[in-house]
């Protein structure tokens, strides 16, 4: 199958993605600088917000608008978990409550765990020179 590169680099979708992601990151940066929250707490805030907005059916519009600009930030991870839970509930009822979320995010979680372990095998932490 041939790839139509004009579709891949369609500038308006890339621009929307860039700006949306940038704005989400600015919100994160303001939280870091103004609230003294630790990185873990900021990630938790973003993932939970994403899940709630996903559950409310709002985040979907942002994903339709910005594509990866909305799914790649951690809010998108939360949205993905919530979306997975809802879709699985539609398919298989109560059990879907528990299986849907993780199923949808399984690729990301498994990759992070595996690559994390791999990196620790081959690499050693080094002191920040700066």
């Amino acid at each position: 199958m041939d790839i139509n590169w004009a579709n891949v680099f369609e500038w308006s979708s890339l621009l929307k993605c860039f700006v949306t992601a940038g704005i989400i990151c600015i919100i994160g940066q303001i939280l870091i600088d103004k609230t003294k929250l630790t990185p873990a707490r900021i990630l938790v805030i973003f993932v939970t917000t994403g899940a709630i907005l996903g559950g409310l059916g709002i985040y979907k519009y942002l994903v339709d608008f910005a594509g990866a600009g909305a799914t790649v930030p951690l809010t998108g991870f939360g949205y993905n978990l919530a979306k997975g839970a809802i879709e699985e509930v539609q398919k298989s009822g109560l059990i879907g409550v528990f299986t849907g979320g993780v199923k949808a995010a399984a690729g990301g979680i498994a990759a992070a765990v595996f690559f994390g372990y791999l990196a620790s095998l081959i690499s050693k932490p080094k002191m920040k020179k700066q």
Binding site: I32, K36, T38, P39, P125, K126, M127, K128
Partner: protein
């Protein structure tokens, strides 16, 4: 030995600091005081497998250096006071376990160097001939224990301080040609309610001021008596705060006051934000720089006040405030 005023101890036959040694890590070796240290390391592991082992090696080698420099044989050392920042002070106890000298492990966070010098001086005035005092800290092992993994891509706030990789060791002795420990003012724990573990200078500055003022009140001295008043590791922000607090209590220390954490790094090129900290900061800067200044009589009277933040990662996670402490030692040539 006699007590002056509320909390100062005056030595009638002042113990002498026979010799000092210091070893620091690669970042400190790029700092302005690099040439004063006995040894500087090229990498933070120093051939060891872990940072904890590296820190133990640093304190061990620093102690060996000071012993060989002083010419005192090990069996003439009556006891040893040492401490560091790691849980249960493992760097010093592991590093010094083969030394075969009676050992007191002390913890006063970054104030440990002066705390051990004070206890050592008391022993010398009491029963001992020679007492060894040593402290160490390591940037990587401290980050691991108190903050985040090194490879985590986080930003350090401008108030944060950089733990010094290094160690300082001193031998306090009954007889010698100086410099002499004339007074010590052990500090009280002071907590002014600061919770931000990234702003240690602000948490410790009130304790510094409290000990400083107690020392002046007890001894009847004033800031101009000393050629240099040196705090342990308040950093740039803590230093400013300390000057302000002292001024509000009627003591102007601006002209002869400085801080080890400010001196050890070059703020403009080394990106260390508010300056250095850690047991190794005061230890290595005094042992490396100020001791030589005293020996060369470039400075004759120094008041060294090491400051410590008495918290750990559990207490800060539980939202506790940070108690500060500061111990003062007056060293004169």
């Amino acid at each position: 030995m006699e007590k002056l005023g509320s909390q100062t101890i005056k030595f009638n036959t002042p113990p002498t600091i026979l010799d000092c040694a210091s070893i620091v890590g690669p970042k400190e070796a790029q700092g302005p005081l690099a040439k004063y240290f006995d040894q500087t390391l090229d990498d933070e592991f120093w051939g060891e497998k872990t940072w904890e082992k590296a820190e133990s090696k640093i304190i061990k080698e620093t102690v060996n250096t000071v012993i060989s420099k002083s010419g005192i044989s090990i069996d003439k050392i009556d006891c040893l006071f040492a401490g560091d920042l790691l849980n249960q002070c493992i760097s010093s106890s592991f590093g010094l376990r083969e030394l075969n000298v009676p050992f007191f492990g002390v913890f006063g966070a970054c104030s440990t160097f002066v705390e051990s010098l004070s206890l050592g001086s008391i022993c010398v005035e009491g029963f001992a001939e020679n007492v060894l005092c040593a402290t160490s800290s390591h940037f990587c092992s401290a980050e691991k224990q108190f903050r985040f993994p090194l490879e985590l891509g986080n930003q350090r706030p401008p108030t944060s301080q950089w733990t010094v990789t290094g160690a300082g060791a001193a031998i306090v002795s009954k007889s010698g040609t100086g410099p002499f420990v004339t007074h010590i003012t052990p500090g009280k724990i002071v907590d002014m309610g600061i919770k931000d573990a990234n702003n240690m200078g602000a948490a410790m500055a009130p304790a510094f001021a409290d000990t400083l003022i107690s020392h002046f009140q007890d001894t009847g001295r004033n800031p101009s008596y000393y050629d240099a008043i040196i705090s342990g590791d308040l950093g740039h922000i803590g230093k400013e705060i300390a000057i302000d607090i002292a001024k509000s209590k009627g003591y102007n220390i601006k002209s002869n006051y400085n801080d080890c954490g400010v001196l050890i790094f070059d703020k403009s090129t080394q990106d260390t934000h508010s300056g250095g900290s850690g047991c190794g900061c005061c230890g290595s800067v005094f042992s490396g720089y100020f001791f030589k200044q005293l020996k060369d009589k470039k400075i004759k009277k120094i008041l060294l006040i090491a400051t410590g933040a008495l918290m750990n990662s559990t207490s800060s996670q539980q939202g506790e405030t940070i108690p500060g402490i500061a111990h003062a030692i007056s060293i004169e040539m």
